[in-house]
Symmetry: C2
Subunit: 701 residues, 2 copies
């Protein structure tokens, strides 16, 4: 076991890991950028997507900027009143800034890599895979690097200001709210954008006019491709940035009471940070093993990606063991068990998601079969699959909660157990650099496929980009499961941290968190209702925005002469603009509800009710998120399965029914579902930040 | 305030109320039976429905009998081990018996009244309304009467055996499980039967062969009409029987600790019983005011029904005031406030349900409008409406919890507050005699419409039966809201009672019901997952059963010569038989899951986890039940709204899209949704009964 004095130096691993991640990301970025962009037509298409993405981002940052300005002022006032720690308003800004920056870099990178991936696929499958995957890794490493950078800066700053380790952790716990808010806006806004464009493009282009998907004559086709980037790249990145930082600060905050008696507080605080830092190394090494031969087979490609992820996981498992053994000492190997629990749970939930949403397995095949008796049976069976698919992830989460609690020693020392639950989330997220890379890979490959289609590249190339794209769908499913699982564990860690935070602010506060206490019960109900409210708003927003796109696309086909014949060019920018405006407008209400409801409940019924609300929203949010993601995934792949020639193939009645399922699934899996991950964390973050305010002004104490 | 000695005599009001209800029900039954059955053709159709219903009931009771026998033996063994009170196995049987009896009487009565209602409508609208409503009242009063009878018998028996009042209430708390199990089987089995028949009949009859609904040539038409009875009459009756008895015994059990210091335990126990007893009087008086003139207008008819319900509510409000004032004394008028809270909450949730599901209001109109852009948008908007419709009921429940807790004095004496929450459920259910009458009225009117159609009665008569049927749809919506609301409050009372029960069994048990305690958290997750699992199983069961009906109906149309021409008769019995078998087979797994999961969680993680599970299943079950009921209702009425000639009317593309929505809604609103009410109560009941067993054998204490 290492001396405390030496352990202090280990903190430098955190900025080192951050810099390593960012530099390596820059290296990958430049290596992708060096690649050839292909023909002039390809470059033009890529430029259009890039311009659209920039336009969207610019507007989003403007809108979000206003929100951040208002909340900054509110937090400033609260800090003058002593109701939040002084650094919080500023940390709120840096959290938002870094999360936004991660999104910006990820998108710049993705819109640069898509066309290069398409071009690389002209030469070989492996080159295409490497281009797309490396650009995914840029995103993954940027998220991780910026997260660690934010933590390092504030740690040194607060230490320099003379804060004690307790003060540092309890202050840093407040920092998640900025990142969370930014993430929610990115996820909801991006989710609305992408599905409005997708649904709108399909409804007129495919159904009414009868042109293929990704046809350049469709005025919404660029918006559709822009949407892949703003929804899946920026949204997913911001979501996981938040889980990553959130799980680390929650674990650190919980270390204070957990290691109080043992006198290992500093070590306990440091462990999640160091594990995250060495996770960078593990992730980067993992990326080196992602390479494929030229067989255009799903299984081969998937194996290539999985190899990288698995190597990273094994590496971190070894490194974490040494960290625990030498930093916390051999008495705390149970904490290592908790980390492993999280690592394994993340993988298992991902695999379960794949089982329920891949056409290789029974559930999705059943949905496809139900398409033969019409749309109604497709919908019923898809919803059933989604509902049924909550069972095993709940079992996994339950086992993870209990195992990490018990292994860390929670049965003897309750607070150690809470630390164990929190650090299991850190374990799950420690290889985020590479897991997010496999995720962010998807939209790049998807875009590459779109560009290949629009630029009319040879059949052989499109076969390759299709294979890459289809792999992206699988990783997206696994990634969604992983995002939900990590969000649930992070949210639980945050609930525990919230309770500690209240105790820090008001040490004599008497909690009554019993589920028979009416404020807690009411909190459970209101919290349970939030995900339903939120999902309803998000789905209706997609519906309204898609309607606008439908009208615009119809207008262009009517008014622009020669558009259908290919002699005139559509006005792509207007569709992008409509989606952008709609997304910006529609994201406000759902996002605000996540922030305001916990505050209102707190003011009326006190902190017990807030804790109940967090538990309720975590439980119901988890169920609904899993259900929506998996129903959506099953519908999507059931449709693709039929398109491959099963149950009558493309154009059959079964196919039409499956398209209905897929369209219902779009807002499920890409708008409402993934936003719920952020909702359950943001409510906790808001509760932490406003804890002092609620304690001071709530009607019931 | 009355002397305790005198108050003891007030208990006689309970058997008196019971007898009054049963005798009055018999009187109504005979008065309906006296009415003319109409033409021979009508009598034949009615006979076919009757035979089908009997066949179903016979088989159901046989299947359920086996389940009851097994569980009786298990309980008997547990009682020999001293793990459950000795009377419990027998009370389990009487609970099941009385609940089953209520269903049997209700169905016998409904299948007798349907044809008489149709025939009465030949003479006048008011006569038709009276016939259908009176038969509904038979059901309502039978449920109430049998419930009070069961309670009276056991009360006197246990008292005769020398049990103290504490022992009586804690023993009687165990009695709900029999009724709950029977209710779940009735609801799930009936729900599967009715929707399999409905969907199957429509898919082949309406869509493939092109004959109208309720056409006698359709082999599944009788099964469809049988289904209305077994699903809506028996299922709803058993559901509310259970809420009624459950809320009363939970309140009585909670009275023991609540009134411990005040020395008013006996009074506290008695109050819910007396209120229920005088509720019989209020309900019967209310029924006298249900009468209409001859205007075939929805609003007029609705007013007629509402008048009766409102008069009953006002009466009970007055009577309850006097009961509280004279039995508990003027210091306890806050308890009266809690009763009023429940009474009002029931009405408000009912009205909210109507708002979200009636085509007179915006939400359902929006769903209808979305039908113009196809099935996908209908589904998305219907699901959004369902999700959004959870918000206000949650607010109502939250306000009801807090108000009844605070009014009853919970802020000073926690246990009084829990008593307040429980008695608010009793208040909500006190007028069950008449609220259930307006509910059970629906299927009778629906059947009457079917008989009028099948027997080809004149246009004018069918206009009247259509008006009566359409009124039934509105009351069904309100009734569903009421059933869910009362189930939620009853479940909360049962959770509190469960906690007390554990304390009675093991006075030194140290609870840790905090939501940060991992077993509680795990319980919340597993409990939250149960409604999703349950709904998925129920929906898939309907799908499978409907598929079988589709094949059978197709077979008959192919093999029976002259069937379509009307020269040959279809084989109704086989369709009834298929539905019966399917319902019996498919109801087992969902029902067992509700019983086994709480026991497994208890054995693994102890009673804290069980309490968490109950809270989780109540919260998620409530959300899902409201969502499914209201999505289903909105789809149903959106379809009807289009059929009235809006958005293109019958046969338009919009209509086809709306039919998809309606078909998805069928298992939502009539199978899975309402079964969830029972699920959340049954899990509590099972937990109460097995509390001693769990305390003795759980791995974690």
């Amino acid at each position: 076991m290492l001396e405390t004095a030496f352990v202090e130096h280990l903190f430098y691993l955190v900025p080192a890991g951050s810099l390593f991640a960012l530099v390596y990301a820059l290296f990958l970025f430049l290596s992708v950028k060096k690649m050839d962009e292909g023909s002039r037509q390809m470059q033009e298409i890529a430029q259009a997507i890039r311009t659209g993405t920039r336009a969207y981002l610019g507007r989003q940052y403007k809108g979000v900027g206003i929100f951040f300005a208002i909340l900054f002022i509110i937090l400033l006032i609260l800090s003058f009143q002593g109701l939040v720690p002084t650094p919080v308003p500023f940390a709120f800004l840096t959290g938002g800034l870094f999360s936004g920056l991660a999104g910006f870099i990820g998108m710049t990178n993705a819109t640069m890599a898509n066309v290069r991936t398409a071009n690389a696929a002209r030469k070989s499958l492996n080159l295409g895979l490497r281009a797309a995957f490396n650009s995914g890794a840029v995103m993954g490493l940027t998220v991780v690097g910026l997260g660690l950078l934010d933590l390092s800066i504030w740690y040194f700053l607060l230490k320099g200001l003379g804060y004690s380790i307790e003060q540092i952790t309890s202050t840093m716990l407040n920092f998640g709210m900025g990142a969370s808010s930014m993430a929610l806006f990115a996820r909801v806004g991006g989710g609305i954008f992408t599905k409005a464009a997708d649904v709108g493009a399909d409804l007129v282009g495919k159904v009414e006019v009868g042109i293929p998907e990704d046809d350049p004559r469709n005025p919404a086709v660029i918006a559709d491709n822009v949407g892949d980037n703003v929804g899946d790249v920026a949204g997913m990145g911001a979501d996981l940035y938040e889980s990553y930082v959130g799980s680390i600060v929650a674990t650190s905050a919980l270390a204070i009471t957990a290691f109080n008696q043992a006198g290992l507080q500093f070590q306990g605080v440091l462990v999640p940070l160091i594990i995250a830092a060495v996770g960078v190394l593990a992730s980067i090494i993992g990326t080196w093993f992602v390479r494929s031969d030229e067989r255009v087979e799903q299984a081969v490609l998937l194996k290539a990606l999985r190899r990288g992820v698995n190597i990273s996981a094994v590496l971190i498992a070894v490194l974490a063991f040494m960290i625990i053994k030498y930093v916390l000492g051999p008495n705390y190997l149970g904490v290592y068990g908790a980390i492993l629990t999280g690592l394994i749970a993340g993988v298992v939930i991902g695999l379960l998601t794949e089982f329920f949403t891949s056409a290789n397995y029974k559930p999705t095949r059943n949905v496809a079969e139900q398409a033969t008796t019409g749309a109604a049976t497709v919908i019923i069976s898809g919803l059933s699959v989604g509902m049924l698919s909550t069972v095993l992830p709940v079992v996994v989460v339950a086992v993870a909660i209990f195992a990490s609690f018990a292994l860390a020693g929670g049965l003897q020392n309750f607070n150690m157990g809470l630390y164990g639950i929190a650090i299991s989330a850190v374990g799950m997220l420690s290889t985020l650099g590479i897991t997010l890379a496999t995720d962010a890979y998807g939209p790049v490959a998807d875009n590459a496929g779109g560009i290949a289609e629009m630029a009319d590249l040879p059949e052989e190339v499109r076969e390759r980009t299709d294979a890459l794209d289809s792999l992206g769908n699988t990783t997206a499913a696994t990634g969604k499961g992983f995002a939900i699982g990590s969000a649930a564990l992070t949210a639980l860690a945050l609930i525990a941290a919230y309770v500690e935070q209240v105790q820090v602010i008001k040490p004599d506060f008497q909690f009554n968190l019993s589920i028979t206490n009416p404020p807690v019960l009411i909190g459970l109900f209101v919290g349970g209702m939030l995900p339903f409210l939120f999902s309803a708003m998000a789905m209706q927003a997609v519906g309204r925005a898609a309607q606008k796109i439908v009208l615009e696309v119809r207008r262009q086909f009517k008014e622009i002469a020669g558009l259908l014949e290919g002699t005139a060019k559509p006005d792509y920018a207007t569709c992008v603009d409509i989606c952008t405006r709609a997304a910006q407008k529609e994201m406000i209400l759902p996002a605000l509800s996540a922030i305001i409801v916990p505050i209102i409940i707190g003011l009326l019924l006190g902190v017990n009710a807030v804790a109940g609300l967090l538990a309720g929203s975590t439980v119901c949010g988890f169920m609904l998120a899993v259900m929506m993601a998996n129903s959506g995934g099953a519908w999507d792949n059931a449709k693709k399965y039929i398109e491959e020639g099963n149950h009558g193939g493309k154009g059959s009645e079964a196919h039409k029914a499956a398209v209905v399922g897929d369209t219902v699934g779009d807002p499920f899996k890409d708008t409402a579902g993934p936003s719920l991950n952020i909702l359950i964390k943001l409510t906790s973050m808001v509760s932490v930040v406003f804890a002092g305010f609620i304690l001071a002004f709530s009607l019931i104490k």
